[in-house]
Amino acid sequence: MLSQFGIMFLFILTAFAFIGGILLFGKLLRPDRPTEEKLTTYESGEEPVGNAGVQFNPRFYVVALVFVLFDVELVLLFPWATVFGQPTLIAETGGLWGWFALTEAVVFVVILALGLAYAWAKGYLDWEKPQPQLPTVATKVPTTLYEQVNERYKRPTTP
């Protein structure tokens, strides 16, 4: 006699079997004619460059984070408007309800705005370009000499 958890276990087994079965089924059914184009990674139509594991500039994340935050804020405001904008309740409470709901939303928005202001004031939103640093070498040879040497052995530019 299976216990209730036995049924659960069977369910899990079935799930795995199902997924495996479908994949196998697809493998058997579909024609297999690979080309180089087909095997490249899909990247929104762009030609993929290099490995996927490259390092991104962390500033992307800050901007993305702020963006997502305000996105979510907007998403919240829609249901807020429909849920709290009930004429009957507003009428029953003599308008108090409406003010209450508005205040709460304002508090919410203000807190987020404060956060944005903070990030802004701290300069987290500025896109600082990295300053390329010229390598300096401690040597007594004047730099003009190097330039002369460079000039002399300059490779002819390829047309």
Binding site: Q4, F5, I7, M8, L89, F100, I111, L114, Y118, A121
Partner: protein, 485 residues
């Protein structure tokens, strides 16, 4: 539909802490950092006072979202007190050029909001929100030593493991909702009672309960879900390790206590053995691994695991008595741990590691946190030696310290339930604990070392002394606190 206007006015600590956190962020724009520490302490004191305004009353806030009663106030008080002490030990942040004290303090205050939610939640959604607020803040603070690779590594590990555990927690909540149709603790409790009596299928309920418990056990670093703890505690700056190992643990156990006693007490027979097994594992792994550590800080990480085990004993012996027992234990543990970390920070700061010997400074902790750092400490710094010795005795559970009564209370809670084998393990492991706690004492008092006199700021000194005096006072007169509950 009625809504009471007093609702949010009496959830003062949460609101105050949120607002003061924002205020602190903007205070950080000032040139001088001198104001930040006192301002934070002031905010904490205000929150502490506000917390106890409702003493003796029981309120349910926000339509069954949060509950405030005496026990919750006590736990909140313990958490606020711990934070107060941790913050007051953070004076050196102002001198550290890399540090951002304003943000750290703000994050600490925000995380406290999460902790308070975990203490008083009545709705599982609030539990989740609280856990997340606290955890995200912890991820940031763990990685706050940006130049230190170990700190970075710890933060990332903590984040990944924490996200995993959160997933399990959320899964559990979802299953529970599926089974009972309620997020409210008492609703779940009612379902558990009636369904057990009816004898119907409780499959979803049990799996959900296990998932939820596992998620929470992860947060309090109970074995076998503890693997993140040593790496994270070791990597994080000591100040925040002290915070993590006290506040997070207290809040986590308050949450576990709440959910077990309100929702799952009806199915005690179903979960207690599993919890007991977790307890035994936690005790064994925490205590035995701690023996082998060469670093004091890492030992404290394992010690915090072992204390999670002792606290779990209070949960396994779930009864009315375990509520004050766990509150008392949390307080005793927090006091000693913070004092110990306070001394560690002083000692370690005084002994920067030799970069030539230990390699690149950026890849390793910047300070020496090994046992050897304590050699001969008590000779030149009797006060620090005494503070450390008392905290170690209290953590080891030696009589006349608060830790003894904490252990006594949780043990007697379990003894009432007849879990004798559990107690045998616990007592044996306490004996093992004495070994590694006394190593520090021996190093301080009996080893030779070239320690100089360490300069301690007056306020720092006062906090250390206060923690020690409280530890001893609670050890002599446990009823002072017990009577409160």
């Amino acid at each position: 539909m009625t809504f009471q206007t007093y609702d949010c006015l009496q959830m003062l600590p949460i609101i105050l802490l949120s607002l003061s956190g924002i205020a602190l962020l903007f205070l950080g724009f000032q040139k001088s950092r001198a104001l930040l520490l006192p301002a934070t302490l002031l905010f904490l004191v205000i929150a502490f006072v506000a917390n106890f305004l409702d003493w003796g009353k029981t309120y349910m806030y926000f339509r069954d979202m949060l509950l405030v009663n005496n026990l919750a106030m006590i736990f909140t008080g313990v958490v606020l007190l711990s934070t107060f002490m941790v913050v007051s030990l953070s004076g050196s942040l102002a001198d550290d050029e890399d540090a951002q004290p304003a943000e750290y303090y703000a994050i600490l205050l925000f995380s406290l909001v999460g902790a308070i939610m975990m203490i008083g939640f009545e709705n599982l959604i609030m539990l989740f929100v609280g856990v997340e607020i606290l955890s995200v803040a912890m991820y940031i603070l763990t990685g706050s030593d940006k130049r230190n690779l170990r700190s970075n590594e710890a933060a990332l590990k903590y984040f990944l493991m924490g996200a995993f555990a959160t997933g399990i927690l959320l899964f559990g909540i979802a299953l529970l909702y599926g089974a009972t149709g309620s997020f409210v603790l008492s609703g779940i409790g009612n379902y558990a009672h009636s369904a057990t009596n009816a004898g119907g299928s409780m499959l979803l309920f049990y799996v959900g309960m296990f998932m939820l418990l596992i998620g929470m056990l992860f947060k309090v670093s109970a074995a076998p879900f503890h693997f993140w703890t040593p790496d994270v505690y070791d990597g994080a700056p000591s100040l925040f390790t002290a915070y993590m190992s006290t506040v997070v643990k207290t809040a986590g156990f308050a949450a576990l206590l709440r959910i077990l006693s309100v929702s799952f007490s009806g199915v005690y027979d179903f979960w207690w053995v599993a919890m007991a097994v977790v307890t035994v594992l936690t005790l064994l792994i925490g205590n035995i691994t701690a023996v082998y550590q060469a670093s004091f800080k890492r030992m404290m990480a394992y010690s915090s695991i072992s204390h999670a085990g002792y606290l779990l004993i209070g949960l396994v012996g779930l009864s009315q008595a375990s509520k004050p027992a766990i509150a008392f234990y949390s307080l005793a543990y927090s006091l000693s741990t913070i004092a110990a970390f306070g001394v560690l920070m002083l000692v370690a700061r005084n002994r920067p590691l030799n970069a030539a010997v230990f390699g690149d400074q950026t890849t390793l902790a910047r300070t020496d946190e090994h046992y050897d750092a304590f050699n001969g400490l008590a000779r030149k710094n009797p006060l620090l030696g005494f503070v450390m010795a008392v905290s170690m005795l209290s953590l080891a559970g030696i009589p006349l310290t608060a830790g003894f009564w904490g252990k006594f209370m949780v043990f007697s809670a379990a003894a009432d339930r007849g879990a004798v084998w559990l107690l045998v393990v616990a007592v044996l492991m306490s004996a093992v604990g004495i070994y590694y706690y006394f190593r520090v004492v021996i190093a301080m008092y009996f080893r030779e070392g070239q320690t100089d006199t360490i300069r301690v700021a007056p306020f720092y000194r006062i906090v250390l002394i206060a923690a020690t005096v409280l530890t001893l006072a609670l050890g002599l007169l446990p009823n002072l606190f017990q009577g409160l509950i």
